[in-house]
Amino acid sequence: MSLSVKHLLGIKELKTEDIQTIFRTADNFKQVLQRPIKKVPTLRDTTVANVFFENSTRTRISFELAEKRLSADVVNFSASGSSVSKGETLIDTVNNILAMKVDMVVMRHSASGAPWFLAEHIDASIINAGDGINEHPTQALLDAFSMRERLGDLKGKRIAIIGDIMHSRVALSNIFCLQKLGAEVMVAGPPTLIPKYIQDLGVKVEYDVKKALQWCQVANVLRIQLERQNKPLFSTLREYALFYGINRQMLDDMKKDIVIMHPGPINRGVEINSDVADSKQSIILDQVENGVAIRMAVIYLLSGKRDLEE
């Protein structure tokens, strides 16, 4: 029983059974993480390189902890201060790391598709830790895993993804993942931040955030990615907060309790107010906790692939 893929590049390529296998394995790792000794010797003989061409706090610490709790050896690489600034190519950089006998590469890159390109040229298993505005598979897995903890089976559940859909790799991976698990997905936000034709993916589109909240059982609120916008797509942050930000009042006006999620980092007072982010309805920190278990599961399940290929 292992995954149908050699790399975790995107959720798009996973089968529903793969996602279920990852969840079942993560359940066990979550249990390990609650023990006094939060570590298992499973990957004593494996070395993983975390190659980050783009900034990250959560994802990188989460991957590093996951690797260490599996007893793997870890090397960290970040583009700033490396030979990348001297003009070394992506393949050369990674091949040099692999030449030092690294078995698995976790990569974040600002170019969409970079991990697919790399997968064609190297033998090691690759885990995509976010590529440009394309996919962020482990985030989607931990989001769905956290929703499943709250709601049980996601079949038929209504989930709204709210905010900057256009620049978000989390949105795309979430859509694929949730649909594979049978959930109904809606995207909501200002028209300028929702890609045209996104309804072709089978998602509902809503421009009124209140209506989206009214419809959904879970609201996954995304960060406004100012760093990826090269021309302004809304006038001011204050205006965005006023029309699309989620505050306590909006949630109190509804007759039901919805679950609030956010993949972080939060722009407090922009897409979400502190009185929502820190409320009982929010499972933002559960998401972070589950991230380690999910990443342990992915690394463990892919590690078995390496000798089968040889």
Partner: protein
């Protein structure tokens, strides 16, 4: 295919094993039973129930241990295992632990199980109970303390234990 233990013989063997455990551990106040996932648990479920029935104890500490993350063969080209549940709801610190598995062959599973067990605390002692001991096929210096049935086998043979709970019959067979 040869039957090693049929339904009746298996039941007698289980009774004997339960009595042998009680002989050494009396009322089980300092002792815990831990079955190894997945197949050892089917045996330990039976043994724990029998021990409890015979000793008339209201409660004995009984847990299940998954050893997937402690295996030494995940890079041997074998299919990767999806783990089962570990549930040990008590402390094993300073207790006598009886590990239970259905078939003892190379000893590698038990090696992994001891590693896994130690991560939960330092037991006073660890004993091993197996239903079938495939003697002379050990790859590690591990021997059982309680044995249901001993067989001499070669590597290519397989010993399969069927349980009514999962396989609709109680039987132990040797497959060539």
């Amino acid at each position: 295919m040869k039957t090693l233990l049929d339904h009746n013989q298996l039941n007698i063997t289980l009774q004997r094993l339960a009595h042998q455990l009680i002989e050494n551990h009396l009322n089980f106040s300092d002792t815990a039973i831990i079955g190894i996932q997945p197949r050892g648990v089917l045996l330990s479920d039976r043994i724990a129930a029998l021990v409890q029935k015979i000793t008339k104890q209201k409660h004995i500490d009984y847990g299940r241990l998954d050893i997937t993350f402690y295996r030494d063969d995940i890079h041997q080209g074998n299919e990767i295992h999806v783990p089962r549940k570990t549930d040990i709801e008590f402390s094993i610190e300073g207790r006598n632990v009886i590990l239970i598995d259905d078939v003892l062959h190379t000893g590698r599973t038990i090696r992994s199980a001891m590693d896994a067990l130690i991560d939960f605390g330092r037991p006073k002692s660890v004993e091993l109970l197996v239903l079938v001991d495939r003697r002379f096929s050990r790859e590690l210096p591990i021997q059982p303390d309680y044995i249901g049935h001993t067989v001499d086998t070669i590597m290519t043979q397989k010993v399969k234990v069927y349980w009514a709970e999962e396989d609709k019959k109680d039987e132990v067979v040797l497959i060539d």
